[in-house]
């Protein structure tokens, strides 16, 4: 069955269609969460949360062709919510200090790539993942993260060049 039909059926609440549709995106969704959160366990939690949120809110998907961007926005928020919960549980004083810290737990798999990501601060890392894995353009990233699209554009190009120089 084509992706378009699956989306149509999923929007009408068809659970099997939704699960099949998710299955087409699962690797990219997991990959985004894995590199954003730095480990398998958190990535699985975020994807699971995303599945539930996406299905619950499937009725709000206005433009069926924009399913891709829509589900990644939900995953982005799931990841942010997970980080926030972890901070609250650990009793970290301020969210800002976490957001600005350069700490990044390198992923177990694909060590070279996660090492390249660890060269970036958390904002730049977010921008690279939203662009290279989630497929957003700089305007969309700006809207999602609260930054000027021009700033996103320049940060992205600098970050990509930095990573490329490391990986080459």
């Amino acid at each position: 069955m084509s992706g378009d039909n699956l989306i149509k059926r999923a929007v009408q609440g068809d659970k099997e269609a939704f699960a099949k549709l998710y299955s087409q995106y699962k690797d990219r969704l997991y990959r985004y969460a894995y590199f954003k959160l730095g480990n398998d366990s958190d990535a699985q939690d975020a994807v699971a949360d995303c599945i539930v949120c996406a299905y619950q809110s499937i009725g709000t998907l206005k433009n069926e062709k924009a399913f891709d961007a829509w589900i990644f926005k939900i995953l982005y928020r799931s990841c942010c919510a997970l980080v926030k919960r972890q901070i609250e549980n650990k009793g970290v004083e301020s969210l800002d200090s976490h957001k600005n810290s350069a700490s990044y737990e390198p992923c177990f798999a694909s060590a070279e790539l996660s090492e390249a990501l660890s060269l970036l601060d958390s904002t730049d890392r977010d921008i690279v993942l939203l662009s290279a894995v989630a497929g957003f353009n700089s305007r969309e990233i700006g809207r999602l993260t609260g930054q000027n699209p021009n700033t996103v554009r320049s940060r992205l190009s600098r970050s990509l060049a930095k990573m490329k120089a490391f990986l080459r």
């Binding site: 609440g13 699985q44 619950q56 926030k84 699209p149 554009r153 120089a165």
Partner: protein
């Protein structure tokens, strides 16, 4: 050669990181087996996003309409009824608006009609982009940069000579991330969440930090949290420092707040006493910063107020831009909002004129529905362009250009259209009332460059097309009656186009060279300098600086007089404002940094054109990637990238 984004994308795709078996289709079915979709969107944190009730929105629309009519009646001056032929929008039965044929803009009387127009455009935009790869659009914008103009000056009797930001028009100042007033060096530092200004005082080795966030917070006297602040551009002179920044009050995805508000603020600081820097004035307007210019003490700020599929188009509070002084931002009246005749999306371009010298003067703000990415400003007029890069694959591309007179207040005086897209401020130039515009057009499959001449009423009076078929336009420079155009794909041709007769522009000649220049600088009477990228022997573009001196004494046969390749990258290859020209010495200074194949370093290059050749005066290397250079008297200061250094100033003797 793969670009950086494709290279990194491939790395992720081939990273081997895939969803484990436990996260398969069965898991998804299991996870949702006991839940049902709800009409409202549920956020990960558990709060429900409000969807405005129909009844409420109708009530709001009715009350707003009433307010709008009152406002319009009390301040009705924008729509020119006498001089222009007016027609009602032919294909529109619902939105009430008036078409002004002279400016090619629609005018409005009510917020309701503005909101309806924006909703229609948003629906059209969404249907157009169904299924399109969302990454394609913005990268093109990021790619090219054009020519440049010069500016350098003497700070007056109290000061030594010092550098000024390179300008396209001699008397129109352009903002930059680094400025000097001959006494201090002001640098934007966006390395943290809240951008600041670092002031270096070379005479006393003093460093002062200006907390812009604090200045704005004090002025707006609001409990709103500033989430993010980024300095976009600075201006300095006459004992004043003007800081233009983007301020984001939300969104806080961590706290499920999804309504985001961003605004551009320009804060005026009195820096006459460096030990007592005070904020003396401030203006703000909705949107993200696009561009600014300054003529005398008047600052012109352009921003893009964008909307997306989450915007509630029935609520004018989400759609009507605001502006004001001292942090008090008020909604623009409906009669100050227009729409491009064929606006390509529902974003709004907001433009304000702000006199930075007179606190008592109010600002003048207008907005146009449509995205003006490229702004060109002459001494008399500012031009906003509405060209949508996302539709680059469409063959019938065009750019709407609106001309705004800067005589007193901002006055929208004329509008015109050129085929193709305008991608850089240097692609436009005003001379003797004519606007000359270079655009990139798409003919069936091949790109080609086009030059159009518009008269003072923005009517198309002459054009020359199909310049460099299949090539991409990289740099443009208008010098008097000649346009120089550099394109790139296989070679780097420099074209000369005569504009002596504006109604009959004529392609004169071309010369080819490897690599491509991203900016063109006039050098004396018969020479132009191309600054840009070099090319390796196998034909791939390198991230290394190349200077090419063209002899254009015979425009029919331009010649390459000299070339110099520097084994470094320079910010000037992408940012024309990084070029420093010293008119007294007749030499140039450009910042340098490693090209990516070596250990990080920085530096500067000082060179001049002498006897038809490029003469390197000095090449200096230090440790931190250099973003900008400025000179004060006999010293050159190197300003590093705050994101990649400890942000300490380095200086060398200006030999």
């Amino acid at each position: 050669m793969k670009n950086d984004l494709d290279f990194i994308k491939d790395k992720f795709e081939n990273s081997g990181v895939k969803a484990p078996y436990s996260l398969g289709e069965g898991f998804a079915l299991d996870a949702i087996k006991d839940i049902e979709p709800v009409c409202e969107m549920k956020n990960p944190g558990g709060r429900l996003k409000k969807i405005t009730a129909v009844a409420a929105s109708v009530a709001v629309a009715v009350s707003v309409l009433t307010i709008a009519i009152i406002l319009f009646n009390s301040n009705n001056s924008a729509v020119k009824t006498e001089e222009t032929a007016q027609t009602t929008a032919p294909d529109d039965n619902t939105v009430s608006r008036t078409y002004d044929a002279k400016t090619m803009l629609y005018h409005y009387n009510s917020y309701k009609d503005i909101c309806m127009t924006m909703k229609e455009l948003n629906d059209d935009y969404n249907s157009y982009y169904e299924g399109e790869d969302s990454n394609s659009a913005d990268e093109i914008v990021a790619g090219s940069s054009g020519g440049s103009s010069s500016g350098s000056g003497n700070g007056g009797s109290d000061y030594e000579a010092f550098s000024k930001t390179y300008r396209q028009e001699e008397n129109v100042d352009e903002g930059d991330i680094v400025k000097t007033d001959g006494k201090n060096i002001y640098c934007a530092d966006n390395s943290g969440t809240y951008g600041t200004i670092k002031v270096f005082v070379p005479n006393s080795n003093k460093e002062i930090s200006i907390n812009i966030r604090k200045s704005i917070k004090e002025s707006i006297n609001d409990t709103t949290t500033i989430n993010y602040l980024a300095v976009s551009e600075l201006y300095a002179g006459d004992g004043r420092l003007i800081v233009i920044c983007d301020v984001y009050f939300v969104p806080d995805v961590m706290n499920d707040k999804e309504v985001e508000t961003s605004a551009v603020y320009a804060v005026v600081y009195d820096v006459s006493d460096i030990n007592n820097i005070t904020a003396v004035d401030m203006m703000g307007q909705s949107g993200d910063f696009t561009a600014s210019r300054m003529i005398g003490s008047k600052l012109y700020v352009v921003s893009n107020y964008s909307h997306d599929e989450y915007t509630d188009f029935s609520n004018e509070n989400n759609l009507i831009p605001r502006s004001g002084k001292k942090g008090e931002l008020k909604k623009l009246t409906a009669n100050k909002i227009y729409s491009f005749s064929k606006a390509q999306n529902c974003d709004m371009t907001v433009i304000s004129a702000f006199d930075t010298k007179y606190e008592e003067k109010d600002i003048d703000t207008h907005a146009v529905i449509g995205t003006a990415n490229i702004v060109y400003c002459s001494e008399k007029n500012i031009y906003l362009t509405d060209c949508n890069y996302s539709r680059l694959n469409s063959e019938n591309r065009y750019t709407n250009i609106v001309k705004i007179s800067l005589k007193d207040n901002l006055e929208f005086v004329a509008g015109g259209t050129v085929g193709g897209t305008v991608e850089n401020q240097y692609w436009m130039d005003e001379r003797n009332g004519y606007l000359r515009v270079v655009s990139l057009d798409l003919d069936v499959k091949a790109e080609h460059t086009k030059l159009t001449v518009l008269d003072e009423n923005m009517k198309n009076v002459g054009s020359v097309g199909k310049i460099a078929k299949g090539e991409e336009c990289k740099a443009v420079r208008f010098l008097d009656d000649t346009a120089y155009i550099i394109t790139y794909r296989n070679t780097d041709p420099l074209f000369a186009v005569s504009l002596k007769n504006p109604k009959k522009p004529k392609l004169l000649g071309a010369v080819e060279i490897s690599g491509f220049s991203s900016m063109i600088v006039p050098v004396g009477k018969n020479k132009v300098l191309g600054i840009g990228y070099s090319e390796s022997r196998d034909g791939t573009v390198e991230n290394k600086l190349k200077l090419v001196l063209f002899d254009v004494s015979d425009p029919m046969k331009p010649k390459v007089a000299d070339t110099k390749k520097i084994n470094k990258y320079s910010n000037v290859m992408d940012q024309p404002r990084s070029l420093v020209y010293n008119p007294e010495r007749g030499d140039y200074i450009i910042p340098l940094e490693s090209s990516g194949e070596e250990t990080q370093n920085g530096g500067m290059l000082n060179f001049k054109i002498e006897n038809g050749k490029i003469k390197i005066i000095r090449q200096y290397t230090n440790n931190d990637p250099t973003l900008r250079c400025v000179y004060i008297g006999d010293k050159i200061y190197l300003i590093p990238d705050p994101d990649r250094s400890t942000f300490q100033l380095d200086s060398v003797e200006y030999k």
